[in-house]
Amino acid sequence: MLQTAQRTVKSKRKKGAPPHQRFLEAYRWMLLTRTLEEKLVSLYRGGLITGGVYIGKGQEAVSVACGSFLQKGDIFAPLIRDQAGRSAFGEPLLDVTRTYLGSRLGPMRGRDGNIHRGHPRKNELAMISHLGAMISVTVGALLAKRFKGEKNFVGLACIGEGGMQTGSFHEGMNIAAVEQVPLVVVATNNHYAYSTPNDREFACHDLVDRAIGYGFEGYSLDGTDLGACLDVIGGAVKRARAGRPPQLVVASVLRLSGHGEHDDASYVTEEIKQQPFARDCLKVAEQTIVDLNLIDAETLTKWRKDAVAQVEEAIAAAQKEPAPEGDKEDWCALSTRDLIDHADEDG
């Protein structure tokens, strides 16, 4: 039998002793993400971004940890609030600004927008909107690596508590355990599926209890605590890489934004905003840095300025680039050109 649901409710990290280097590196990705996303929001409000803007405010600590322990050859399947994780995994800022601003030179070339971008050839999968779908796709990528005789690889797929209620998620988790692939699923419970609170999403005591039912090992996590995120998610990645059963981490946070920027989130209650999981993980991380004097105030200021400069550069570059044009598009959904169907006489 598989040993399942080894559950640690709290990080074993001793307070006051985060691994400084990784903590600071992760913090910088979080800072860059917050800076980028605030800028994207203002561009959206100014009418310069078409479609939606979906940010990860309040979820950056969990997300950055997801990207921080993956190596070359690993598979990453981020979801909509995973800018921090994408950056830590290696996605260039220019990919983000090109996609949001609709540059023809971006990875999606204007064909898909915002958070649906990805680089499948670089193992950053391009999510579809249908939640839960990426779990089994990640399983398949890992299965392929096993077929090809690769070693020492893992996959990490992100999901929210909303996506955990889909049939696709259930099928994906089950097949992952059946195949015993080295998969980590990081589920961030941000307490709302769009506007629907937890009590209308699920009725189980604790989402992490599902781990044992799937044959996963499950861990709970305070997603506002960067140190804990690095410990728990880093540990899960390490165990998956070492051949343990698939790992489920359930992090608790509050989404500190609307579902998208079109949404004022007026349904978020004052009561829930007072909960410990409603803390802003970026501020908590900064407080840790200050309290432990990990870097001086001058360095922190410099990092903030650097983040602003990088974001402004990436936006300015994408804004100069050409947009896609309908009459120059090849309108071809197949790579096999001679099998294109021509419904119209003029083909």
């Binding site: 064909r111 680089h119 779908a133 089994s136 398949g140 299965l143 696709s168 001679d338 099998l339």
Partner: protein
């Protein structure tokens, strides 16, 4: 020697597994000593250990897993136990596999085998023909082989194609159709075939209905009527040129398909011929499909539900009188 349509499918998979280490088969009950609900993979798990894998009853995850593996360079063949159950995998097929190349530039070379169409007594959930659904969506190739030879060569071709292929194999043909040997070559994918030449009427069909159409052409030949039968082979891409050329010879068109009547492959053929070859037509083009109800269980109802040689003959006579 004689080989059935079903054996051709098995032989094609054996050849693919033998010739290409990227190929694996993934589906419910395909592995072990069982070899699939219809035995299309019989013996393959033993011959190719670790490459013919049983899965849970999870159509969404089966196709999702195949997509992920294909992105990493594998060539998975998914067997749906019945085409009907691919409805559970529609999201992965249409929204994931079908959009992926367009969105990212990275194609997803999966082959999804759909045991399709009706057999007596199978009822509403084990009899469906899904080709029109899949053909409607971009990014997919939809194959509908009607002969033993095509069942073999088109499955080999499906796996070679870099894009997702929906391979509709007809259960009624599994045991009914036989050939003397397997072919080495075939028409290119996407090209329709003139299955029978004639000058009075063109019947365009595919899959099991192609065989019914040929039977009806035999019947009409006894009355001195020469029917040309076009086998589409793939409903997507649809070989409009071959269809138009045939209609140019005959002036009359009847399309026969087993899927439900609203929209679909037969409607598409008629729409194209009408818009591109209106001047070629001497009579209104007609079509025959299954009835617009779920597929019945009882053999007498089932026989009346789908087109058959008898009502194809009746429709053809009517069209030839116009």
């Amino acid at each position: 020697m004689s080989i059935t349509y079903l054996e051709a499918i098995r032989e094609a998979q054996a050849k693919l597994l033998r010739d290409d280490e990227r190929v694996f088969i993934y589906g419910q009950d395909v592995g072990g000593t069982f070899g699939g609900a219809f035995k299309a993979t019989k013996g393959l798990a033993k011959e190719f250990p670790g490459r013919v894998l049983n899965t849970p009853i999870s159509e969404d995850a089966i196709v999702g897993t195949a997509i992920g593996a294909a992105m990493q360079g594998m060539r998975p063949i998914v067997e749906m136990q019945f085409a009907d159950f691919s409805s559970i995998a529609l999201n992965q097929i249409l929204n994931h596999a079908g959009t992926h190349y367009w969105r990212t530039g990275v194609p997803v070379p999966i082959t999804v085998r759909l045991p399709s169409g009706g057999t007596k007594g199978s009822g509403p959930f084990h009899s469906q023909s899904m080709e029109s659904i899949y053909a409607h969506y971009p990014g997919l190739i939809v194959m509908t082989p009607a002969t033993v030879e095509d069942a073999y060569t088109m499955l080999i071709e499906a796996v070679a194609i870099d894009d997702p292929v929906i391979y509709c194999e007809h259960k009624y043909l599994y045991y009914h159709l036989k050939a003397h040997k397997l072919p080495d070559k075939s028409l290119p994918t996407g090209r329709a075939r003139i299955a029978r030449e004639g000058r009075d009427l063109t019947i365009v069909s595919y899959s099991a209905m192609m065989q019914e159409s040929l039977a009806s052409a035999d019947e009409l030949a006894r009355e001195g009527l020469e029917v040309e039968v076009v086998d589409l082979r793939t409903v997507k891409p649809l070989d409009t040129d071959t269809v138009l050329a045939s209609v140019a010879r005959t002036g009359r068109l009847l399309c026969v398909g087993e899927s439900f009547p609203w929209g679909g492959a037969t409607a598409e053929v008629i729409a194209r011929v009408t818009s591109q070859g209106f001047h070629l037509l001497d009579a209104s083009p007609q079509r025959l499909n299954a009835k617009d109800t779920p597929i019945p269980y009882h053999p007498s109802l089932w026989t009346a539900h789908r087109p058959n040689a008898k009502n194809i003959v009746a429709k053809a006579r009517q069209l030839l009188r116009e």
